[in-house]
């Protein structure tokens, strides 16, 4: 195994994400489909990992399990040492609220709430209220370059602007983990690149652990590590590793 491949499989330091032997079977009987086959996936705290692989390989499935919105059929997952198996739906919601910032493929903002209120909502869900939530939301919107658009509804923003609001929402209250599934899929190359850069930059500033699913090879150089998944399994892929000169250590 090459050194790069070695690095691609093994994180260093305390673990933000620890998934071992994770399998996922959709459906049952003749229609059963195994989307994940014994995935071992670890991410160190503060690390930025990009998850790549062909369509249908199980990237979204794995991210959903890590995001506590889908349960694994088999295997063990914990986030920051908190186990995800055998806990109630309420507890899973609590883990999502407390620990995870999501950036979805579509922006998934609340259409009836302004940019500011979308971000503020996330603060409030994390237990931050009143003026602190309001100020936090304003600061984040400023950081993503939308201070002057804070009263606009999502419908009044461009795709790239919406995705920037989504990034601000994901980072509201600085969750320790951000999960992003093809956040640039709906954007043109230039806007997509900018959005990802912004997500990476803000996450790095805050020491947030990030897992991004992406097809966009132009942003690979922003990753600490690239993990390739094929047919529900993690495979070594030295060719996709970022060059050591461009990699950022956590």
């Amino acid at each position: 195994m090459t050194a790069a491949a070695e690095r691609a499989l093994q994180p260093a330091g305390p673990l933000a994400v620890d998934a071992r032997g994770v399998s996922k079977v959709f459906g049952a009987g003749a229609l059963a489909y195994q989307a994940l086959r014994g995935v071992d996936f670890q991410v160190a705290e503060g690390e930025l990992v990009m998850l790549v692989g062909p369509s249908g390989s199980g990237k979204t499935t794995l991210l959903s399990i890590l995001g506590c919105v889908l349960s694994a059929t088999d295997g063990q997952v914990s986030l920051f040492g908190e186990p995800l198996h055998g806990v109630t739906d309420g507890r899973l919601a609590e883990l999502r609220r407390a620990l995870i910032g999501f950036v979805f493929q579509g922006h998934n903002l609340i259409a009836s709430a302004s940019a500011l209120d979308n971000v503020r909502l996330m603060f409030e869900l994390r237990g931050v209220s009143g003026r602190r939530a309001r100020r936090g939301a304003e600061e984040l919107l400023e950081r993503v370059g939308l201070a002057d658009r804070r009263w606009h509804l999502p419908g009044e923003l461009s795709g790239g602007q919406r995705q920037r609001v989504a990034i601000a929402r994901a980072l509201a209250g600085t969750p320790p983990l951000v999960l992003a599934d093809e956040p640039t899929a709906a954007l043109d190359a230039h806007a997509g690149h900018q959005v990802t850069q912004l997500l990476v930059e803000l996450s790095r500033e805050r020491g947030v652990t990030v897992v991004i699913v992406t097809h966009d090879n132009r942003i690979f150089d922003l990753a600490d590590r690239i993990v390739r998944i094929e047919d529900g399994q993690i495979v070594p892929s030295p060719t996709l590793s970022p060059s050591p000169t461009q990699g950022h250590a956590p």
Binding site: D89, A98, R126
Partner: protein
């Protein structure tokens, strides 16, 4: 950076911001789709207007039949057995008056004669009236809502009080107009307003005049109206009266009122109005249920997102309940406003739409219950929603 444990504690403990956020978000989402918002509110308004208006009309109709009992001024009524309405009917002996007057605790016992008869019109033909003869000295059972004339004038020979709303029907009645009842001449000494029961309008006269006009014997009466001495125990006096007047029934004013209402409700009136009101509520229920369900279906992705970013089923349930309550209160407010406006427009001597205070309180309560129940369909859909859908 905060530790994971601190974060979990904050997320678990942050109930107040989460409450606030979900309540505001619920109202926002409700107001966002304006067409649906207006449609749902109108559904509630419709149910309130139709339901409250029906109840108001029912109250008005009931009041037409209880107004004599309500306004006669008696504490107790002595009536023929099995009397269900204050109507002209079976007669009783005037001995009852003496028996009542001799009963301890009775202040006044006053006779009332009630007879259905007719007024001969100047141009020929007759019009029916309900003639009420009362004792001018006690005044019990005499005219109320007097809009012209002085009841004291009823002491004059042949003087009667007519219903103002019937003036045209009776050939243009005016104060002093002369008509013929039972072959005798009578004249108009005054007018009342709105005293029209289900039967012919009330017409008042001194009891002996009424007896002469209708041929009711001087030892007969329809009802005995009793008032109590101050401090007398109504139940005890009623019991003693019952003992002394075995052939008649003794009933308190309130019980008589309730009995009239009960008998009307048991008959058609209750079924007719009950059906319309239930229908109104059903329509409201269906409109609210469907529009809340379709609002959830329209916003499925948003609800899924809210779940994914950490809202619980409880938070989402709260949101739908907030919306239900908001629709119910808003719809009740607008609906009751419209009903009050309509009641004013409808009010006439024939029918008053009565919107009683309990109805004003009950409407928002009933509509809240209805709307919350109607949101169950939407709620089930939201609770079933998989947060994982947001990644699809």
């Amino acid at each position: 950076m905060k530790s994971v444990r601190e974060r979990l504690a904050a997320a678990r403990g942050g109930r107040i911001p989460r409450w606030r956020a979900s309540v505001i978000l619920a109202l926002r989402m409700m107001l966002h789709d304006k067409a649906k918002f207006v449609g749902t509110t109108l559904g509630v308004v419709f149910a309130v207007v139709l339901g409250a208006q029906q109840i108001g009309v029912l109250m008005g109709l009931l009041a037409k039949n209880t107004m004599l009992v309500d306004n006669a001024g008696a504490d107790l009524w002595i009536v023929p057995p099995n009397t269900e309405q204050a109507q002209a009917g079976q007669r009783m002996s005037t001995q009852l008056l003496d028996q009542a007057r001799a009963t301890p605790g009775v202040a006044v016992a006053s006779p009332l004669v009630m007879v259905g008869t007719a007024v001969k019109q100047p141009g020929g033909g007759t019009e029916a009236i309900t003639l009420i003869g009362f004792d001018l000295d006690t005044g019990l059972g005499g005219p109320w809502n007097v809009v012209a004339g002085d009841p004291a004038d009823l002491r004059h020979a042949g003087a009667l009080f007519f219903e103002d709303a019937q003036r045209d029907r009776f050939g243009g009645l005016n104060l002093g107009s002369v008509r013929e009842v039972g072959g005798l001449q009578v004249w108009v000494a005054g007018f009342t307003w709105g005293l029209q029961p289900f039967g012919p309008a009330y017409t008042f006269g001194e009891i002996d005049l009424v007896r002469d006009l209708t041929g009711v014997a001087s030892d007969q009466l329809s009802f005995v109206l009793v008032t109590l001495e101050p401090g007398a125990d109504p139940a005890a006096v009623a019991a003693e009266l019952r003992r002394r007047t075995p052939g008649a029934e003794v009933i308190s004013q309130a019980a008589f009122h309730d009995r009239i209402v009960g008998s009307l409700l048991r008959e058609q009136l209750g079924i007719t109005f009950g059906t319309t009101t239930a229908f109104a509520l059903l329509i409201g229920f269906i409109i609210v249920a469907l529009s809340m369900f379709s609002a959830v279906i329209d916003n499925l992705r948003e609800f899924g997102t809210l779940k994914a970013i950490g809202m619980t089923n409880l938070d989402l349930t709260r949101m739908l309940i907030v919306q239900s309550v908001a629709y119910a209160l808003l719809g009740s407010l607008v609906g009751l406003g419209l009903v009050a406006f309509m009641a004013d427009g409808i009010r006439s001597a024939n029918l008053a739409v009565i919107v009683p205070a309990p109805l004003i309180v009950a409407t928002p309560a009933v509509m809240t219950l209805l709307c919350v129940l109607a949101s169950v369909l939407a709620l089930r859909r939201v609770r079933k929603l998989e947060p994982g859908m947001v990644f699809r």
